[in-house]
Symmetry: C3
Subunit: 317 residues, 3 copies
């Protein structure tokens, strides 16, 4: 394993290796097996779990962790090849990452959301992550890009594997802003490939990319009615995302507004467990009653983030 | 000891234990007695001494320290129970702290000033700190909340204990902005309970909360004339704070403006020592001559912040 | 050695000691020779290489590194003596650094650019760095001030020493904004004193300070024509800077605009090696072809930043 960019790029064996290692860390603690190694987290966007998990996992492994906020503590970064840099970006990724950072550390983690104000066709190429991967001389870890969030996906798979459900619904929920699709993309790919029977629920117009459906394979049924899609499942995995039609400078929030009723409440939950990657808008995406209820796995998921992050770093450092 | 929220909540014995430990650290150095433990500092506001002291103390103890700036590197946090989160806050404290952070680290330090633009009656309930304490599964350390600043108070008590004064004046001073009351509250409670004879000096309308006076007990005399209150004391502890009437959306800075003359200068200092928690507005709160003079203890106070922080972490980790 | 403020203040022997140590670290690795020591990086401006190098070097030496962003995570700092602090700055450098920070750590690194919106005569006194040096009780390291960037200069000298060129051109290049002069100042002083024959190329009106020319000594020839100055040199060291006439509130960008043609391209490069401190505006300062070409030393320079930073910390901690 020389990088982790998405579940779509990992083999089943690689995923199993990472989950087995995570479970061993849960049981025996994370061993200080990588002393003197350096990880750099490059954050183009805010983060709580990912940033904390990266730091706790690195330091528990005996490694060092440096965190940079792009555009705040460090320079704005240009990622387009051949750009004439007379605008706001002060440094090119080839210099920031290629000529420097990857000569100074042993692995680079990158958090870079989709820029929803740009056309979807651009975002789906994952331009920032791709540019960093091209430039870097050391392994890159995707800490959520425009297309995938494999660190979340591994944590979710770890939790699912412990509980052994059969049917898992991944459902869209309302949110005041258009959010990236990385989490549902990774969940769809990861859950379907792991053999769960997946119900993918979203309003019309909010479909995930056909490329992602292809990577997920055949275990997926799509529902455009939330109640129907949640009926009889063992787990409800909720997440909001923006429609492809919302990308671009105009936004088109009117596409989302009619679907304010897509919230996970007690009635819809039934006997299913509830999962969410966090952060979550309470009483918009899910009611307090569900997320604070006995069948909520959100804390187990969040805690698993440290374990799977440590497993990935253990393999790459 | 399973948390440190305010001097009001610590027993005399607990305070003495922490001060004794701090003095031992001053003499012998801080021992690396807590290897592998994790502290997270959650900063809703800027800080120099508190942030540095938390990092130096944690690392000296052999522990790791992670620092998050809420609303900058990490998500904005909602603290009200039952909120419908369709506004700017992206994450609820129950998820950020309860379901995640307190599963990943061993203690959480929180810096959260009073929001003076909100009504005083709200601030005095210390809503953010209280919500974090309710949510957390691990010990919480108050790194200055709306109501108390116990890390500062312990450092101040350490300095006072070494110098053995009898009479201590806590005096209001002018400042261009309305500041929180946490420092004078904690000083009043800590100094009075430690047996010093306290002169509390402030203009009319700038009284501290009756709850705080009650926690401080009987060793306190209030003066509404600065010169009278400072006469004959051994120590002058200066600090500015906003009047209760300044809280709320309107501000009412006109309450402070008439009191620009409340500055500690050489004439008023006499033979007394000078203390201030820093940061301080020089030549507004205190003249250069006093703070840079031979009877200034501000540097000893600041340095004590590392020692008392280490003592608290030693007990809680 | 008890501080590193500029190459102008280091003796030839001190520079050689630091470069020899850096080369030893390159060969044998950086030894954990300074356990338990604390470095604080105080950043008034953004930084990628400097911040990363400070952290990697400190941690590799076994020391701890604390990084503060002035005005973001920590308070705005006043540096003028005797100021009546009723403005935006919340804390004076005498308190932030003198009375606190330098009692808590063993060395302080400072990044503080020239404020080009202020008159040049103010900037050339290096007011912020000077105030911090006056206030600090521990060694100060200049991580780029208004006048010098010695950490960059040491890295550049390390690279030059390995390659043994004879003639080095330091050339101005166009840039959309007026940048500080610290890098060319240090390069001029360092390269000339090290015995390289220096061609200093810049448009009329963009001369470096006479004080800097004096510190550099006699090995320098000035060219106001780029092509002429680059002819026959072994190394081209490119950098943009603002004219002295651009300092002050008005800016006067019109001084720079006529010189958009000052770019290092393949034709001008000839057989010379290319150097730049980074970050660099690609296709404005230098073409991709040159910086990505086989004769580009920018990555070697950037990597050397960690080595020379470690050497400086090794001597000062």
């Amino acid at each position: 394993m020389n990088r982790v960019l998405g579940l779509a790029q990992l083999s089943d064996d690689e995923i199993t290796t990472l989950l087995d290692l995570s479970d061993r860390f849960a049981k025996d603690g994370i061993p200080p097996a990588r002393p003197g190694r350096f990880v750099c987290g490059l954050f183009f966007n805010p983060s709580l779990r990912t940033r904390t998990a990266l730091e706790v996992a690195s330091l528990s492994l005996g490694a060092h962790c440096i965190v940079h906020d792009v555009g705040a503590g460090v320079w704005k970064i240009e990622t387009r090849d051949g750009a004439v840099m007379d605008g706001v970006a002060q440094e090119h990724v080839r210099d920031a990452v290629g000529n420097f950072l990857s000569t100074a550390v042993h692995a680079i983690g990158v958090r870079t959301f989709a820029e929803i104000s740009r056309p979807y066709e651009e975002c789906r190429k994952d331009p920032v992550l791709s540019a960093i991967v091209s430039a870097s001389r050391v392994p890159v870890i995707n800490l959520e890009s425009a297309i995938e969030h494999p660190m979340q996906g591994l944590a979710d798979l770890l939790v699912l594997r412990r509980h052994k459900p059969r049917k898992v619904a991944i459902t869209w929920a309302y949110h005041p802003r258009a959010l990236p699709m990385a989490v549902p993309n990774t969940a769809l790919i990861g859950f379907a490939r792991a053999g769960y029977e997946v119900h993918l629920c979203h309003p019309e117009g909010f479909d995930l990319d056909p490329m992602v459906h292809e990577q997920a394979g055949g275990n997926v049924t799509v529902f455009e009615d939330m109640d129907e899609g949640l009926r009889g499942v063992d787990v409800i995995y909720a997440k909001s995302w923006g429609a492809r039609g919302e990308y671009g400078p105009k936004g088109h929030a009117e596409l989302r507004v009619p679907h304010k009723g897509w919230i996970v409440n007690r009635e819809r939950q039934g006997n299913a467990a509830f999962m969410h990657c966090l952060p979550v808008r309470r009483n918009v995406v899910v009611t307090d009653e569900v997320i604070d209820g006995p069948n909520s796995w959100v804390s187990e998921q969040a805690h698993a983030r440290v374990l799977t992050q440590a497993a990935v770093l253990h393999e790459l450092l």
